[in-house]
Amino acid sequence: MPEKQPMTNQITDTEAGTSLWKDAWLRMRKNKIALASIMVFTVTCFFCFVIAWFCKDPNQVNLVNKFSGPGSEHWIGTDALGRDLFSRILYGGQVSILVGLIATAVSVTIGIIYGALAGFFGGKVDAIMMRIVDTLFSIPFLMIVIVLQAVLSEWSRETSAWIVNNLNWDKGFTDRITNVLPLFFALGLLGWLTLARIVRAQVLSLKEREFVEAATSLGLSKLTVLFRHIIPNTLGPTVIYATLTVPGFIMYEATLSYLGLGVESPNSSWGILIKEGANYLETNPQLLIFPGIIFSITLFALNFLGDGLRDALDVRASKD
């Protein structure tokens, strides 16, 4: 193993010389579905985060023009309050995608640190830490998320009021931000268990490798070895798992919003749009069908991307 690229190339013992990521990219390029998924997701993000700024105000109510069909004024029509459905889908997508990405970032951070510490210290520490994970695994996730969300959203309302009063921030803006924050943490705080197991298993085997011995004998402290040399080597399985977590969290957010426990007005999300659309399905099916299709296509792309990454990186540890 050449020491020049310690970041990446020590996970596999196979072909020395090409890095894991380069190798994976070469295999990934042959996987047409995964490539298409990357494109679909990029385009969705581009529309939600860039094109959305040039669209109509998603909260512009126009009761005269409610339930208008697709046309030149409103591309895919308007909803029950005459709001433009196209820009509502784009703005809703901002929340849905951000919740998926940030909640994943939170849970990945917790999972890596927890799993790495357990695997690195081993012995009793490991046994206790993993027993805690085993216990938490049997706890109904959605139920705890629902209660946690109720607790956190009240805190966020108080925080929002405090910021508006003391820092003189714009109320609408502050509300939009503080309304979404609880979701990031309610989901992220609870989704790290599987990743902790994966990382621990990786660290357990990595810490016996020569490069760790080399780093230690150079006089690096234990934590430096762990964070600079061992954790970067666990990134392969982490990336796969994280990619497959994002659609899961987007689905959870939609579920919570559907139950009326997620984001609130003036924010919207795909879950809320689908919920509103379901009320008018008989007369105006496009209100459910358009958000439903965008939602499902995004999840489709993310799931296929995760599958593609798994095939490309070919790590058995995270096969199911």
Partner: protein, 309 residues
């Protein structure tokens, strides 16, 4: 084997206690209070009610009293929002959730497992590609899209099926189908993966070389090992079916337990919340144990491992 079961049951108790602790303190941290109604109630009346439900005691006393009451009296306290014993509420609504969950699981197994086996047998053919795409659709399209679509385009047009409601056995079909589709999709993917792994092993090649017919090869030799990932998934997926039922019960107006949980959060009814959460937790522990025992019976290697622990 018996030592393994006892071990796991003890671990299950630990799980339930952890679940109780988390839910208890989260419920205490929830904003608002239970006896808020549209009418303004005087402070005295509120204080009286708090004392009646034992909510005026110290936090530690409340924390310890609830589990002690469960063990000694079998009492799950009284719901503050409904004024009825939580045990009665659960006893009344659980059968509905159980029927719904079991039918959904049945549908999931009947769709998912055959789909997975067929895809594995015809790997990389259009059959494989098609059924795996269908499975992906099942994972990506949420229940709250499938449910309303089924209501409008199936229930409204077929005689006998109702759009929503719960009374005759035929009412189970649509909610169970909505609930079971996602699980069916996961089962199909897991079965396919498990079967592919088994089919690539040497003993299958040997059997094939000895001239075992293809059907018998699958049923006699491959299924036993190939279904292991799917069986391991059924335990946890029962949990998913229950939590998924929050949505499905809302859509189809099924009088099950899921709605009580959501209502309890909204009404700040901590006793109902704790009761339903603990009951679900108990079910999950039992289902996980059952899945592990079944895995142990089908796969001797697992049994050996667990005895060594």
């Amino acid at each position: 084997m018996i030592r393994f079961i006892i071990n796991r049951l003890l671990q299950g108790l630990l799980v339930l206690f952890a679940l109780y602790t988390i839910t208890f303190f989260l419920a205490k941290a929830m904003p608002g209070e239970p006896f808020t109604t549209e009418k303004n109630i005087s402070e005295e009346a509120k204080a009286y009610q708090r004392a009646l439900y034992g909510l005026d005691k110290s936090m530690l006393e409340q924390y310890l009293r609830y589990p002690i009451n469960i063990v000694t009296e079998g009492s799950f306290a009284v719901s503050t929002s409904k004024g009825r014993p939580v045990r009665d509420i659960i006893a009344q609504s659980f059968p509905n959730s159980l029927i719904l969950g079991l039918s959904a699981l049945g549908i999931a197994i009947c769709i998912g497992v055959p789909l997975g086996v067929i895809s594995a047998m015809r790997k990389n053919s259009w059959v494989d590609w098609g059924s795996m795409s269908i499975a992906m659709i099942g994972i990506c399209v949420p229940a709250f899209t499938v449910g309303p679509l089924l209501q409008i385009y199936i229930a409204a047009h077929l005689p006998g099926l109702k759009v929503a409601g719960w009374g005759s056995p035929i009412d189970i079909i649509l909610p169970a189908l909505t609930l079971g589709l996602t699980t069916a999709a996961y089962l199909a993917r897991l079965t396919r993966g498990g079967m592919l792994e088994i089919l690539s092993q040497d003993f299958i090649r040997t059997a094939r070389a000895k001239g075992v017919p293809s059907n018998k090869l699958i049923t006699r030799h491959a299924l036993r090992g190939g279904l292991l990932p799917a069986i391991a998934f059924i335990g946890p997926s029962f949990a998913a079916l229950i939590s998924g039922s929050f949505i499905v019960e809302t859509i189809f107006q099924v009088p099950g337990m899921g709605q009580h949980f959501v209502n309890a959060v909204i009404a700040r009814d901590e006793f109902l919340l704790l009761g339903v959460a603990l009951f679900f937790g108990f079910l999950i522990v039992i289902m996980n144990l059952a899945a592990d025992i079944l895995t142990g019976i089908l796969d001797p290697r697992v049994r050996l491992d667990s005895n060594q622990k």
